[in-house]
């Protein structure tokens, strides 16, 4: 059953087929099915919670200084592949032993003026205290492909698991793009900061190096940032220049083990007050970086300073309420879960003054 899910691509896309490594999706499917086997006929509490992949790494970065002179950009309409990766995870319910989560990833690329996508998932997992270590380590092994990587890390707590699994899938999707695209622009969601459990520096360096060897430039857009200058968010530092432009941030000093693999910019690419943190691979020359952003401006559509390819990747992987209901329907029917309504203790105790349970 698993073998039939090898990745095939549309003819126009320049993925060299034989080199595609399907290890992670195969492991995802195996682990997903394996974890769900143990969920049969359990009571099932429906609730949902989207896990925002917050950039907690930024807490470990020292304050920074912007360069006063912005880099003014001119869109270069050259035929370039623009590719973007994003993943998302969601908790779709609780069982008596753990949680049911869903993970999905999307690769979107623009070629010959049209957008295409490959979407992986949803992969459903029943994560319990008993199996979380096994699931996480099996996935890490499948992705990192080296036995020593996982030994240093302990498995995350139950509530961190959705984000962690989604991150592993995201890294794998990024690796696929870096290995298969040439002369293109690869857009990541988030930053190029590494050094934590699911973003090991060595693996990120490998992704960036592979991309670079194939003459690609990696651009990482962060939807949210906590980096500040003079107390203000860097994305609020708006100069009186006509967009598109970038403003380079210097003086960033990450605390170990955090490593910045990219240089940080504030990019204001269209009119309006929207700006984003943009990380560009450190090893790419200054000229190439500017050329890459200009090519992106000339090739992709932009809405509110954000590239359409990345927006589509985000849209395609995000779960809608309808999909959550469908997954709940699937698990309830396929695995005979009995849906229960566990009382909300806040509501029970405080009535209308109870705001419902909150999780940190």
């Amino acid at each position: 059953m698993i073998e039939q899910y090898t990745i095939t691509t549309t003819p126009k896309y320049n993925f060299p087929q034989p080199t595609i490594d399907t290890t992670l999706p195969q492991r995802l499917i195996e682990l997903s099915l394996h974890s769900l086997k143990h969920v049969q006929n359990q009571p099932f509490q429906l609730n949902q919670q989207t896990f925002q992949q917050t950039n907690s790494l930024e807490d470990h970065i020292q304050p920074l200084q912007p360069k006063l002179q912005p880099i003014l950009l001119k869109p270069k309409p050259e035929e370039t592949i623009v590719a973007a990766v994003d993943t998302s995870s969601i908790k779709i319910g609780e069982t008596s032993k753990g949680i049911l989560i869903a993970v999905r990833g999307a690769n979107v690329w623009k070629q010959n003026k049209s957008y295409r996508y490959i979407r992986l998932g949803p992969f459903l997992f029943h994560i319990t205290e008993e199996n979380k270590k096994e699931v996480y380590n099996a996935l890490r092994r499948a992705y990192f492909n080296s036995p020593h990587e996982h030994s240093r890390q302990s498995s995350p707590n139950l509530l961190q698991m959705p984000t962690r699994i989604a991150n592993l899938l995201e890294r794998w999707l990024q690796k696929m793009f870096s290995k298969t695209i040439s002369n293109g622009l690869i857009l990541f969601d988030g930053s190029l900061t590494s050094g934590i459990a699911d973003t090991p520096t060595q693996r990120m360096i490998e992704i960036l190096t592979t991309a670079r060897k194939r003459n690609n430039v990696v651009l990482a857009f962060s939807k949210m940032t906590s980096l500040r200058f003079n107390g203000y968010l860097i994305t609020d530092v708006l100069l009186r220049y006509k967009p598109p432009y970038m403003l380079e941030m210097t003086g960033l000093k990450p605390k170990p083990p955090i490593v910045l693999l990219g240089d940080v910019y504030v990019a204001r690419l269209t009119k309006g007050n929207y700006a984003f943190r943009l990380d560009i691979d450190k090893e790419v020359s200054h000229e190439h970086r500017i050329e890459a952003v200009e090519k992106l401006l000339g090739t992709d559509l932009f809405s509110q300073s954000y590239p359409e390819t990345l927006r589509l990747a985000h849209i395609l992987c995000t779960f809608t309420a309808n999909e959550v209901i469908a997954m709940q329907h699937f698990t309830a029917h396929r695995y005979g879960l009995k849906i229960i309504n566990r009382p909300d203790m806040h509501r029970l105790l405080f009535g209308p003054f109870g705001k419902g349970e909150r999780r940190s």
Partner: protein, 486 residues
């Protein structure tokens, strides 16, 4: 299916796409513990309000309205479940009755359990049995939605006021012919005011051969084989014709009454004598002119004769029909508007006379587009006074607003075909035996030849049926210019 909501006598039921439920279907909501069940009818099928559906649809249209090309690797095959949820339906249903101890009550006060009640489709034959829509005189109207037959009882048309309405070419005439022929089968006397000559060949099969009804269909064409002699006429019938059909003023009518009595006393009630009498009558010249103009209208209609033998066919046909059932088709096809009114005034007067004297037991009158020949004051007469004499009318029209509101209010049965126009549906929905929501929702979507049956014939359980095809020469087809060219 799951019960979702109840407001007043409307319940909302959730269903998935594989549970095929259509407008007009009946559902049974059974509460096992309560030992009761609700009979509800689907009056509208909507998409269930699914959270995130807008995002879902927008997501598939990101590129200027074109679908984005791509591939989905969905190892657990969740996509069909997503489609399933997306296409979930919300069935808006009207409570029709409660089943308790195998009996029906129109109450909707009982509320079944939302989580425990079982919901299933109620087959039409079961409903017909439950509602006791059966009898000794069955009339098969046609196929119901679930491939069963919708059968009504002829006695539920007896003494009733019926309306058959729908837009053009939806099958109204088919149904009226079906009802009519079945009534004849049960030896009823039927009279049809046939405006377009559609009923004249009912005694023939579609391929032109005589059928079983041949000897029971009597076609009377005014001024051809249907004439009346003045001697047969009552003065009040003729005065009705003169006043209502020919608009004779009151003063002139008084003079006419005197002339008529004078001729009657002399035993010379004939057309020629009537003309002579008007000419020689001592009266105002204007009165004379008025009388003369009406006299010539009567003469020119060709409907009146002095030959009594020529004027016996109507009674003969009626008495024949009384014995073995039959239909008298009054072919008004080539009759002018005024002559139509003259004929109808005469006939209604004659029927009342025959019914009052118990020469006839009852008449089932089928009146097509009655506004074209029925005077204003007769509408009330037909639904109230004449009903007591034994004239049971079925109005057939494609212009529902031509039938007065009080007729709808008193209608016992309504056979409703498709209407697209909201105004038309608004008019029909005023009928007392109908709820406006059902009419407006179901009738709009009825395909041609499908009919929504409302009223006593279906014990107030509105039902949709495809009207059965008839093997008779219907003659109702519209003449087409381009027919042979295509």
């Amino acid at each position: 299916m799951k019960l979702y909501k109840k407001e007043s006598n409307i319940v909302q039921i959730l269903s998935f796409p594989n549970e095929t439920v259509e407008k007009g279907d009946y559902l049974l909501i059974e509460g096992a513990e309560a030992g009761k069940a609700l009979i509800v009818q689907v009056i509208d099928v909507q998409f269930a309000s699914i959270p995130g559906i807008l995002e879902e649809l927008l997501r598939s249209l990101p590129d200027g309205g074109e679908l984005m090309q791509g591939e989905d690797f969905d190892p657990l095959e969740i996509a069909p479940h997503i489609t399933y949820i997306q296409d979930a339906r919300l069935n808006i249903c009207k409570i029709r009755a409660t089943v308790e101890n195998e009996g029906l009550s129109p109450s909707s006060s009982w509320l079944p359990s939302r989580s425990q009640s079982a919901i299933r489709k109620l087959p039409i034959p079961t409903l017909l049995k439950l509602a006791k829509i059966d009898g000794k005189l069955p009339i098969v109207l046609g196929g119901a939605k679930d491939s069963s037959f919708l059968t009504i009882d002829a006695s539920s048309l007896d003494g009733k006021l019926n309306i058959i309405t729908g837009k053009k070419e939806t099958g109204k005439s088919y149904l009226s012919k079906l009802l009519m022929l079945n009534l004849i089968r049960y030896k009823a006397t039927v009279v049809v005011f046939d405006l377009n000559g559609e009923y004249v060949s009912l005694g023939m099969t579609a391929d032109g051969k005589r059928n079983g009804y041949y000897n029971k269909i009597h076609v009377l064409t005014p001024s051809q084989n249907f004439k009346i002699a003045l001697k047969q006429l009552d003065l009040h019938v003729l005065l009705s014709i003169l006043i209502h059909a020919l608009h004779l003023p009151g003063t002139s009518a008084r003079e006419f009454r005197r002339i008529w009595q004078s001729l009657k006393e002399r035993g010379s009630l004939a057309l020629r004598e009537l003309g002579e009498a008007i000419r020689n009558w001592r009266c105002n010249q204007h009165v004379r002119d008025a009388l003369f103009s009406r006299y010539y209208a009567l003469v020119n209609s060709g409907f009146f004769t002095d030959n009594v033998a020529e004027a016996m066919l109507l009674e003969e046909c009626l008495f024949k029909a009384r014995e073995e059932g039959g239909a008298i088709i009054i072919n008004l096809r080539n009759t002018s508007a005024i002559d139509r009114q003259i004929v109808v005034e005469y006939l209604l007067g004659k029927f009342v006379e025959l019914l009052t004297s118990w020469k006839l037991k009852a008449i089932f009158l089928f009146a097509e587009e009655a506004h074209l020949y029925l005077r204003e004051t007769y509408w009330d007469d037909i639904v109230t006074r004449m009903r007591h004499f034994g004239i049971f009318t079925t109005f057939i029209t494609n212009q529902p607003d031509t039938i007065r509101q009080n007729i709808y209010r008193q209608a016992d049965n309504i056979f409703l075909f498709n209407f697209t126009n909201e105004h038309d549906l608004e008019v029909v929905s005023r009928a007392a035996r109908v709820d406006a929501e059902t009419v407006k929702s179901i009738a709009v979507d009825l395909p041609p030849h499908y009919c929504l049956v409302l009223g006593k014939v279906v014990k107030d359980f509105p039902m949709v049926a495809k009207v059965k095809a008839l093997d008779v020469k219907t003659m109702g087809e519209t003449r087409l210019f381009f027919k042979d060219m295509n």
